[in-house]
């Protein structure tokens, strides 16, 4: 029986597959330039060569966390913004429940100030960049909604627009959930309890954090246990692909960008069995 050499996919590849699959589901073709084309090429290569494709449980768990974090970061900011608008526009006349009107000309600056205050509370660059992108999303959406209104609009209506954006996020969640089930049929989840010694080696040798070390260690562990070649596919150059030669030379795990992944796997297939001396190499 021929060896079932295979791919282990990194979280960035799964996210791209998920994004593309959700679009295919509704008959859309996302405009994603080279990155999208690269993933398409990888999927075609997998299908054409009938290659097995897996992702470790740590990768799938990481993907779920990212999805939840992105949703929460958008929704929590939207909720805070609603509360800020209600506070700023609270009725001044006694007995009235109606918020003061929102001036399209000047009250957009309330939103600007809201975001400035939010930025001040953040320290990490990642959080700041995340918030910057959420700000762009929210303001862009509100601008579109307010385009055909006069000089003022009821603040309750602005709140309703913000809730509508959350409805749109939910539509996207809905498509993504279905796409996730379809991706899981194509990329089987492998429950792997990572060897802590092996994970530590990745951390020490390459200065990686828990996630990258756990994902790559899972792939190497599978290669060793199943006696098959594994190519770990990722688009993360900073942490993984730039270390390709060192990782292969020290640990015999091939890491590749999706462009070359199929070539690497076919090339490894020509070689002898993967070395089974992981324990002595550690």
């Amino acid at each position: 029986m021929p060896r079932r050499d295979c791919f282990f996919l990194d979280v960035n590849i799964l996210l791209d597959m998920l994004f593309d699959r959700a679009h295919e589901l509704v008959g859309l073709r996302p405009e994603r330039g080279v990155r999208g084309e690269t993933i398409k090429k990888l999927v075609l290569g997998i299908d054409k060569n009938k290659l097995d494709c897996f992702a470790s449980s740590s990768v799938y768990d990481r993907l779920s966390k990212i999805v939840e974090k992105v949703n929460a970061s958008i929704a929590d900011v939207a909720r805070k913004l609603v509360s800020c608008l209600r506070e700023q526009k609270k009725p001044t006349s006694p007995g009235s429940n109606e918020l003061l009107p929102f001036s399209i000309k000047s009250d957009l600056f309330l939103i600007e100030k809201f975001f400035r205050d939010e930025f001040r509370q953040l320290s990490s660059e990642e959080e700041k960049e995340g918030l910057r992108r959420v700000e762009y999303m929210l303001v862009d959406y509100l601008e579109q909604q307010l385009r055909n209104h006069g000089e003022t609009v009821r603040t309750e209506e602005v709140v309703s627009f913000i809730e509508n954006l959350l409805v749109e996020i939910n539509k996207w969640s809905d498509a993504r959930n279905t796409a996730m089930l379809q991706v899981q049929q194509k990329v089987e989840r492998k429950e792997i309890i990572v060897d802590s010694v092996l994970q530590q080696i990745f951390k020490e040798e390459f200065g990686w954090g828990d996630e990258d070390s756990s994902n790559t260690a899972s792939a190497l562990q599978y290669q060793d246990e199943q006696n098959v070649w594994v190519v770990f596919v990722s688009t993360d150059y900073k942490h993984i692909i730039n270390w390709q030669e060192e990782i292969f030379s020290k640990l015999k795990l091939m890491c590749s960008d999706p462009i070359y992944a199929v070539h690497h796997l076919l090339c490894l297939r020509e070689m002898a069995e993967p070395p089974r001396d992981l324990a002595t190499r550690l």
Partner: protein
């Protein structure tokens, strides 16, 4: 969740699918510090919509392990049942569809037509109200301190439920065609197996829908009662606070709901992926903006 009489459809769908079945009813009553549990087993035919409404409420309430002090399961099930019945009665189309369903079952032409009409009416109503249900969930999120994923998943459930009803509508239409063809060619006896075949084909879908619905409702009901002063306050608009919940019970119910929702989704995909595609939509600009935020958290990993 925007509580709605429409939420009864899988239980009622079962009305046409099953006949006599064993039913275990569990009632819990608190007297002072003592808790009495009474279990009764009975065999009963599924005679009426009211019966199903009651069973459905009992199933929802029975999922709750932790009850806030002011509430009892038995009374809660009664409140839920009467709320459902009022919701149906207040909508003349739904009330008429339920009325015409009668007890004919699926073995007569008239019974099948009534059943199809019933399913179509519920399906249309749910589909018409869908965006309103989801918008109501988003308003509840904005006016609470609970996580977005709760309201997001409850809304995804509504979307799946709407697809489920469309699927059942298609299935019953196709059943009617097939039975009528067999009936013309081979008589009533030969058309019976077609009905049986139909029942076994849709049963896994109805089961998955039922489980997800019961999980969704019990989670939602739990959050609602923890934030309600008394029985009268249930289902009224209110601000939902996380501090009022027992965190372990909330996590348990949410985990169970998420699992049942995933299974419901998987069953639907397995049965008609084209329909799912047709019934799914999103704004490309929102998906792109979402992806750009995701990229930030990816690169930080």
């Amino acid at each position: 969740m925007a509580f709605s009489g429409l939420g009864l459809i899988p239980s009622t769908f079962r009305f046409g699918l099953s006949s006599l079945q064993p039913v275990e009813e569990v009632f819990t009553k608190r007297i002072g510090h003592l808790k009495f549990i009474k279990k009764t087993l009975s065999l009963r035919p599924s005679y009426s919509f009211e019966d199903y409404t009651r069973f459905s409420s009992l199933a929802v309430v029975d999922r709750l392990d932790h009850m806030p002090q002011n509430f009892e399961k038995e009374k809660l099930a009664e409140v839920l049942t009467s709320w459902y019945q009022k919701a149906i009665e207040s909508d003349s189309d739904l009330a008429e569809a339920v009325e015409s369903l009668g007890t004919g079952g699926l073995y007569t032409d008239q019974g099948q037509r009534n059943f199809h009409r019933f399913v179509s009416t519920f399906s249309r109503k749910y589909s018409e109200g869908l965006e309103g249900f989801v918008k109501a969930e988003m308003s509840r999120f904005v006016n609470s301190d609970l996580s977005f994923s709760l309201f997001d998943q409850l809304s995804v459930f509504h979307r799946n439920y709407s697809r489920f009803m469309k699927l059942m509508e298609l299935q019953t239409a196709s059943l009617m065609k097939r039975v009528s063809m067999y009936h013309r060619e081979r008589g009533i006896k030969r058309s019976r197996p077609i009905v049986e075949e139909f029942k076994s084909a849709v049963r896994p879908i109805v089961d998955a829908a039922d489980l997800a619905r019961i999980s969704a409702l019990s989670l939602d009901l739990y959050i609602d009662i923890c934030n309600s002063r008394d029985y009268v306050d249930i289902f009224n608009r209110k601000t939902l606070c996380r501090d009022r919940l027992d965190q372990r019970e909330y996590e348990r119910l949410f985990t169970s709901f998420s699992k049942d929702l995933r299974e419901f989704d998987a069953v639907l995909i397995g049965n008609n992926v084209e329909l799912i595609g047709k019934e799914t939509s999103f704004k490309e600009s929102v998906a792109q903006a979402w992806y750009r935020v995701a990229e930030v958290y990816l690169s930080g990993s």
